[in-house]
């Protein structure tokens, strides 16, 4: 589709840009530094964009996938799914930021504008179908997250986090760009579908070595792996997660990972899903090994952590590993499982981080010791945290169990028994560190100050937004079908 015609379908992205600019302008006008008008405006931006995504999906979704801007990006159910997911994460992050006391009130305008900008970048990540666009969207997200990670200007740890993030990010992007140039050099095109066709022809004719393709894919995987924090590109994430403001940590662990998986699925499924390539290059095995290593490293490293934020950072690495299991063979069941798990993960992980925000506000600590006796002075918050943590472990009846179960079914269906076993044993290991937080909250007494902490109704309302889906998603039929729909529109050209 031509550029001008494409603009109509691009309304959600345009709305994000408009609101990002509006947030900056409003910030100039508002005199009162304590005012939260900026945050509310960006929240309105999210809601408008949300409405636009839904409107476009339901108006044009039936016509099948639409290619926009001369094949640069694509509008399909898959991208709409991710846009909705990302908007939910962004809206939650804005609400967390409103309630978090660690952010500098003077820098609000930039902060919220950047949040909207990063959402735009992630939208593009979820819909790019061209190598160039993939790289640009990835860089938009990366650069914005470097700034957001270092947003606690008074905290040296935050600055350290941002610096580490940039250093690792630059290496990963460079490597990925190198890989992309390989692909472009071999096929002469940037379009993913065409690359798939050309590569199949070239490999069949024996004009290129399978090793060359494997190297190119490995390099690209470095960039994607860095976004989803998979081994061996995970080193940045514990430090960044620990140093960044808590809402940003929550955002990175959920939204950034989701967008990374969107890109991963589209790149590998559209670009390399054709069977000819699967046979000549054994990258499913490579992905399986990466997946097994990622979850094992994440879980083992989480075991001794004392800082809850850092613990959740490692746990989120482990969850990246679980999610990768679904991507090993890129079957539609596997991808459906990833999508379902991402929905579940969004609620349970954001919920857990919200409790971290609340506890940091009240107790002023992110360490496990700070959670001692939480059950006696804030039983509802402790109960909610317990639900999130056990859901992350994958204990029924919480949604996390259903998510893992679908993932494992998809893996076993492909005959990767060893991978499923590694994954399941990892869940057992993860119970130990999640239970340490539960133990501190429920089994241990608080220190000297045992004042009952009262939280506002708004806090409980927001908490229940995460608790209720974490309990009920697994029981509802609709979520299982939703994942399947969004896969069924992914054509293998």
């Amino acid at each position: 589709m031509k550029n001008i015609d494409s603009l109509l379908y691009f309304t959600p992205e345009i709305l994000l840009v408009i609101f990002a600019v509006a947030v900056i302008l409003l910030d100039l006008v508002v005199k009162n530094r304590e005012s939260s008008a900026v945050a509310h405006l960006s929240l309105v931006g999210c809601i408008c964009t949300f409405a636009a995504v839904l409107f476009i999906h339901f108006s044009f979704g039936d016509e099948g996938p639409i290619s926009l801007f001369l094949g640069m990006i694509r509008l399909d159910t898959f991208s709409s799914f991710f846009k909705i997911l990302l908007l939910l994460a962004t809206a939650a992050t804005i609400l967390f930021s409103l309630r978090s006391e660690e952010l500098d009130a003077r820098l609000k305008g930039e902060y919220y504008a950047l949040l909207l900008a990063i959402t735009l970048g992630m939208f593009l990540m979820a819909s790019s179908t061209n190598l160039l666009m993939i790289f640009i969207s990835l860089e938009t997200v990366s650069l914005t997250s470097y700034i957001l990670a270092g947003f606690l200007t008074h905290s040296p740890r935050s600055s350290e986090a941002a610096f580490k993030y940039i250093t690792y990010g630059a290496v990963a992007s460079g490597t990925m760009l190198f890989g992309l140039s390989f692909l472009f050099g071999m096929t002469g095109t940037g379009d993913l579908a065409q690359i798939a066709g050309r590569l199949t022809e070239l490999l069949a004719a024996g004009d290129i070595a399978p090793l060359a393709v494997l190297i190119a894919i490995t390099f690209v995987l470095a960039g994607v792996g860095y976004k989803i924090a998979s081994v061996p590109f995970h080193m940045w994430s514990p430090d960044v997660y620990e140093g960044a403001p808590i809402p940003i940590t929550a955002f990175l662990s959920v939204a950034s990972k989701s967008a990374g998986f969107a890109l991963f699925i589209r790149f590998f499924y559209t670009g390399f899903g054709s069977t000819g390539l699967m046979e000549s290059v054994n990258w499913p095995l490579m992905l399986a090994i990466v997946s097994a290593l990622t979850m094992t490293v994440g879980n083992l490293a989480a075991l001794p952590q004392q800082n809850v934020k850092r613990l959740l950072a490692y746990s989120s690495i482990a969850h990246g590993g679980y999610l990768l299991m679904g991507g090993v063979l890129l079957t539609s069941e596997g991808i459906g499982a990833i999508l379902f798990y991402l929905v579940v993960y969004l609620f349970m992980n954001l919920g857990a981080f919200y409790v971290v925000v609340l506890v940091a506000n009240e107790v002023g600590s992110e360490m496990i010791d700070g959670y001692r006796g939480l059950a006696s002075h804030a039983p509802l918050v402790a109960g909610a945290m317990m639900i999130f943590l056990f859901s992350l472990t994958g204990i029924p009846p919480f949604a996390g169990f259903f998510g893992k179960w679908i993932l494992f079914t998809a893996v076993l269906e492909q005959g990767y028994y060893w991978l499923a076993l590694v994954g399941l044993l990892n869940s057992v290991v993860s119970l130990y560190y999640y239970a340490r937080i539960v133990k501190a909250m429920f089994f241990e007494e608080a220190g000297e100050e045992t004042d009952s902490v009262s939280f506002s109704t708004g806090t409980f309302a927001l908490l229940s937004v995460f608790v209720i889906p974490t309990i009920f998603i697994g029981f509802l039929n609709i979520f299982y079908t939703f994942s399947n729909i969004s896969v069924s529109v992914m054509p293998m050209q």
Binding site: P379, F390, I395, P396, P397, F401, W405, F408, T409, L412, E413, Y417, A420, L421, L424, L425, S427, V428, L431, Y432, A435, K439, F442, F443, F475, N477, Y480, T481, N484
Partner: protein, 508 residues
């Protein structure tokens, strides 16, 4: 419908309890008692109205749940499950009464968790869909973890997490096996046809169908192992038993009762319901009496009996003694099941029920003593018989029932198990009887050390067992006597189910 009502009424009770104000402790206890008495009434009704002349499942509810994976909410009862449902429903109110005075903090949360636990247990015994079965199985983990971890003894944190980790380890292996069964459930002669299913009765039929992927003997052996480890942790079967003494010692009295009375039975019930009925060829591999593997299940039963009994003999902590004696007595269940003949299986099932009743009594009795003396050291007592005659009488009854005195219920189950096992595993069965002798030794020796001899002057003022405590023990005591002289009262319930199971086992 009636069955579902019974399963979910405790859950409803949990919601009701959570809505009550924290201060009204008496009300919380009464509401909990009410919500455990209703399932008991329903269970008694089911037990009476159950049609004994058929092996088919009754009171069936079958509605779709998760369509994408063909999962159903499918519950129903047969003779085996209705017996265990009755046991569960009976221990519910008994445990609530037993917790009436000795839970000091957070009674509301305690009762709420207890009700959740009851829903999990009732649902587990009634589930006829493999997925539902697994969900209920796991549903008991969380409340148990908190009940031990919050209200337990000094080393409660360690005991709680150990229990949780062991069980979860077992259940993930079970999950793999379960998914493998599901994925193979529509493959006939190597070709996939029709929809996959989790439905237990359907799967049992498919596993007996010639040419079906589930009927492949190698496949059956592997999934048998997966399920077996999951259940073995729960039973517990050596070497997966080490969580049990810790959990029992630390858990509050009523939770020990549930643990020994019901949770251990979940393991053996699973073995009968899934491992034996669904994978007869897998079972055959481990019980055909040929070579090491052919004797392995009976060997495990034997190890449990002898090892558990000798460990119990060495204990000086009263509760730990009862805990190890549980391991020993569950060994008879395993031995009876390994025999896989009429008397073996009947004995094993009867032993499951009897052990549930007797071990519940034993733990309640230990709790009574602990509440008064605040320790459980067997050597620290002496001559209590003169101070607490009623207590001594009930304890003697429970000890005698547990050590297998003819005329009391413990004898019938163990005798039938051994009788069945003797047909198949003569040598191991003869050796297993050592367990009975040792069992008599440690119970009689304990009786002597605690109740006979000269009264320890420290305990001259020890109050006698009170009415509330007697109330919890009397129904169980009556059951041990009734089942001792009239075992057919229970056997009639599951006779047809056992015959049916043996037909399945003989069909291979």
């Amino acid at each position: 419908m009636l069955l579902s009502l019974m399963i979910f009424i405790p859950l409803l009770g949990m919601v009701a309890v959570l809505l009550l104000p924290r201060e009204s402790e008496e009300l919380v206890k009464r509401v909990t008692l009410l919500f455990t008495l209703i399932p008991l009434a329903l269970a008694v009704y089911l037990f009476i109205s159950y049609d004994r002349s058929t092996a088919g499942t009754q009171y069936v509810t079958n509605v779709p749940w998760i369509d994408a994976f063909n999962i159903q909410y499918h519950v129903g009862i047969d003779g085996l499950s209705v017996t265990l449902l009755l046991l569960t429903a009976l221990l519910g109110p008994i445990c609530v009464i037993a917790s009436w005075r000795n839970i000091e903090k957070g009674i509301k949360a305690y009762m709420a968790l207890f009700l959740l636990l009851e829903t999990g247990m009732l649902g587990f015994f009634a589930a006829l869909d493999l997925f539902l079965f697994y969900v209920f199985f796991e549903l008991t983990l969380l409340p148990m973890y908190f009940l031990i971890g919050v209200w337990g003894g000094p080393r409660r944190e360690y005991a709680a997490i150990k229990f949780f980790l062991y069980t979860l380890f077992g259940s993930v292996l079970m999950l793999v096996a379960m998914i493998a069964v599901y994925l193979n459930s529509n493959i006939v002669n190597g070709v996939a046809e029709g929809a996959r299913t989790f439905d237990i009765p359907t799967l049992i039929t498919l596993a007996a169908t010639q040419g079906h992927a589930l009927a492949n003997s190698d496949f059956q052996v592997w999934v048998f192992v997966g399920f077996f480890i999951g259940f073995a942790v729960k039973v517990p079967i050596f070497p997966f038993h080490t969580w049990l003494p810790d959990a029992h010692v630390e858990a509050p009295t009523a939770i020990s009762v549930i643990l020994a009375g019901i949770l251990l039975k979940m393991g053996t019930y699973g073995l009968v319901r899934i491992n034996m009925a669904m994978f007869p060829q897998g079972l055959d591999h481990f019980t055909d009496g040929i070579g090491f593997w052919g004797n392995s299940l009976a060997l495990l039963g034997f190890i449990n009996i002898v090892y558990g009994s000798f460990c119990a003999l060495a204990q000086t902590d009263f509760k730990k003694l009862v805990a190890y004696s549980s391991i020993g007595h569950m060994g008879f269940v395993i031995l009876g099941l390994a025999a896989r003949n009429d008397s073996g299986i009947t004995g094993a099932i009867l032993q499951m029920f009897n052990h549930g009743v007797i071990s519940a009594m034993l733990f309640l009795l230990v709790g009574v003593l602990y509440d008064r003396a605040h320790h459980r050291e067997i050597n620290g007592f002496g001559g209590l018989g003169t101070r607490m005659p009623i207590y001594t009488g009930i304890t003697t009854l429970a000890f005698m029932a547990s050590l297998g005195l003819p005329g009391l219920s413990g004898f019938v189950g163990e005798a039938l198990s051994l009788l069945g096992a003797y047909e198949r595993f003569k040598f191991l069965t003869i050796l297993s009887t050592i367990g009975i002798v040792v069992g008599a030794a440690y119970f009689l020796w304990t009786l002597q050390r605690v109740f006979l001899g000269t009264l320890n002057p420290k305990y001259e003022a020890l109050p006698e067992i009170n009415g509330r405590e007697i109330l919890t023990l009397v129904p169980l005591g009556i059951l041990t006597i009734v089942l001792g002289v009239w075992p057919n009262f229970a056997i009639d319930m599951f006779r047809e189910s056992v015959t049916n199971l043996i037909d399945v086992l003989n069909a291979i």
